[in-house]
Amino acid sequence: MVLKAFFPTCCVSADSGLLVGRWVPEQSSAVVLAVVHFPFIPVQVKELLAQVQQVSRVGVTVLGTWCHHRQEPQESLGHFLEGLGAIFSHEPWLQLCRERDSKSWTCKATRRQTPTAAGEDQVLLIFYDQRKVLLSQLHPPAALPDRQAGDATPSARGLAVVFDTVARSETLFRSDRFDEGPVRLSHWQSEGVEASILVELLTRASGPVCLLLSWLLSLLSAVGSCWSRLRRHRGEQVCFWNRLKAVDPSSSHVPPKVGTGLSGSRSERSVPQLPRRPVEKPVRHVAEELQHLLQWLMGAPAGLKMNRALDQVLGRFFLYHIHLWISYVHLTSPFIERILWHVGFSACLGLTVAMSVLSDIIALLTFHIYCFYVYGARCAVLRAGGPPGGLYCLKICGLSSLWRLFRGKKWNVLRQRVDSCSYDLDQLFIGTLLFTILVFLLPTTALYYLVFTLLRLLVVAVQGLIHLLVDVINSLPLYSLGLRLCRPYRLAGSLPRRPADPPLSFQMQPLPYSRVVRVYRLPSCGCHPQHSWGSLCRKLFSGELIYPWRQRADKQD
């Protein structure tokens, strides 16, 4: 097996000395962590290593020698380095040499104890950036649980071992060359801890800052919405009083109070004109639009030939309903206003709360559309004076069973299939009569159903969009994305190498954004729509009620 030596790039220009690092026998790879410079006392080096080993629980040892020829090759140094191998016994003993022109590297690994003296392995030298490796995490994070458990023997495999080793032996990097320690080391922090502390602080801080920023952002939006709400309300009030004042002199018999709207709503045709409140206005607008729509439907919509009598009956019924709705909204609007105003403060709890509240308000204010949809779809017993006829769902059911009768078949409930059946003459006659009538009335009801279903779908789509947004906000890993943006190397995806020159260098490739989102996605609580598109369309066609955002169990009751 080829021996792999991972060498930190920061030690490339270090003086000659000893290589300190970890030996991973199962992969036959040597992870060099630092270089101990001359002069040193072997005992002290051993002590230091023992300390490090105790703290980090990584088997840090002396791996071999490092020789940097700045001047002419010194024969004596070579021999000296050879001799060191006897003091620090390690198997295999690594000998790394860099020539002056920095182009040529020589790398040898010798095994002493092998009886055949030619125990030289092939060595593959790989450079790595110590700082980046220290700070980053390899994905997929396989070694993570091990480290948390504080297991002394890392079961990480492959490259994760390198990461693990570097990350664990942080204590080794505490000292720099300005320290007055007994042993001088060369590693990524050896140029001075002070400077790097700032960097480190910044990096450490970037995480919380990201968190804080995201929180601030949501707070800001919430406060903003609250503020705009407050301000608009105050402005409206001022306007209202101004208008009242303006009205007062001309028509003194109108009492200056809010309740005037009530008297206005009693009049038959005219929609109450008085105070227009922020909620009432759009609601009223929607209601008016609905009225126009109904009037259009009561004529000959899009040139369709509808049954006049049924058309009129249905149209009048829905118009009456809209009228009821308008008066209801008008009556309750002051309370709703107040409630909404207070509810607006819930936005302080975050953007998602505000959006959820918004979704609920939309649902509340489009209740009439929902009602129409239900009436159109099936004869719900919501009101005493329910709509005439079972409308669409009943009609479809009736038509399908009568069509079976028409063909002389019937639905067998026990066997769940269509059987042929011989009917009596009078059954046939009445069935066919009803079938004919239903067929000719179908277009009228279908059109009403279609229009109201489209309206309902619009509302559902808006609500769904809001839910989706809330879901995305809830589950988006803001911290990880921020980290990826600011410090791409912290999340290392794969580790490509560039074979520029024989010594391979080891580069970190940041995780792509899509994978960041996928890996760090928070578990979202949002319920996904139960229906597929096909089943949704089928349900729409057969006139079943659809509740895209509700659990199936709720629908039973």
């Binding site: 080829v2 092939q122 593959l124 492959g158 391979l504």
Partner: protein, 195 residues
């Protein structure tokens, strides 16, 4: 050490294979297909523009022309950036891993690295691809949970539509790095039929 050979892909186009040996334990295979030829580019652009001009003379709306130009540009950019692969490189480092790099015509590079410890096997598999049946080289990855199983199959050298240069029944030289082995996918259990 470097040598170069030329092959034809499954559609009959030319492919060049370069082999580089950095060291006995580190080899690189580089498969490059010819760059986008000016002639085909011109032909496509001209045909799109001619069609647009024909449409323009019919409906006399100059939007058509601008839309055609826009579509051509966006399509070309998209083609160069996402579709057209100029070169695919496979770097194999013994006992460390396999790195696959594909460089697109626009200069975009996408790199994947697979650790050797995750590689279960390298096989040539056979598959139905569009209206063809092709051989392709792929890397089987080990399942971390179940050591016998295969968690993923990574195809190598998928120069867009030319999955593997398997010309003239010659085993691709890439395979000399590994013991070439044809992968006979088994039928598995067939409804309990004893076979």
């Amino acid at each position: 050490m470097e040598d170069e050979q030329s092959f034809s892909d499954i559609c009959g186009g030319r492919l060049a294979l370069q082999r580089r040996y950095y060291s006995p334990s580190c080899r690189e295979f580089c498969l490059s297909c010819p760059r986008l030829s000016l002639r085909s580019l011109t032909a496509v652009t001209c045909s799109v523009w001619l069609a647009a001009y024909g449409l323009f003379t019919l409906c006399e709306n100059s939007m058509v022309l601008s839309a055609a130009i826009f579509i051509t540009l966006v399509g070309l950019l998209g083609y160069l950036h996402f579709v057209k692969i100029d070169q695919e490189t496979l770097l194999i480092i013994d006992s460390l891993g396999i790195q696959m790099t594909s460089s697109y015509a626009s200069g975009k590079e996408s790199t994947t690295f697979i650790e050797m410890s995750k590689v279960k096997d390298i096989v040539i598999n056979e598959a139905i691809y569009m209206q063809k049946v092709i051989y392709y080289l792929c890397i089987l990855l080990k399942d971390p949970v179940e050591p016998q199983g295969v968690s993923q199959v990574v195809p190598v050298f998928q120069v867009s539509t030319e999955p593997l240069p398997f010309p003239q029944c010659n085993p691709p030289p890439v395979l000399s790095a590994f013991p070439p082995r044809l992968f006979f996918s088994r039928g598995g259990n067939l409804c309990g039929q004893s076979m």
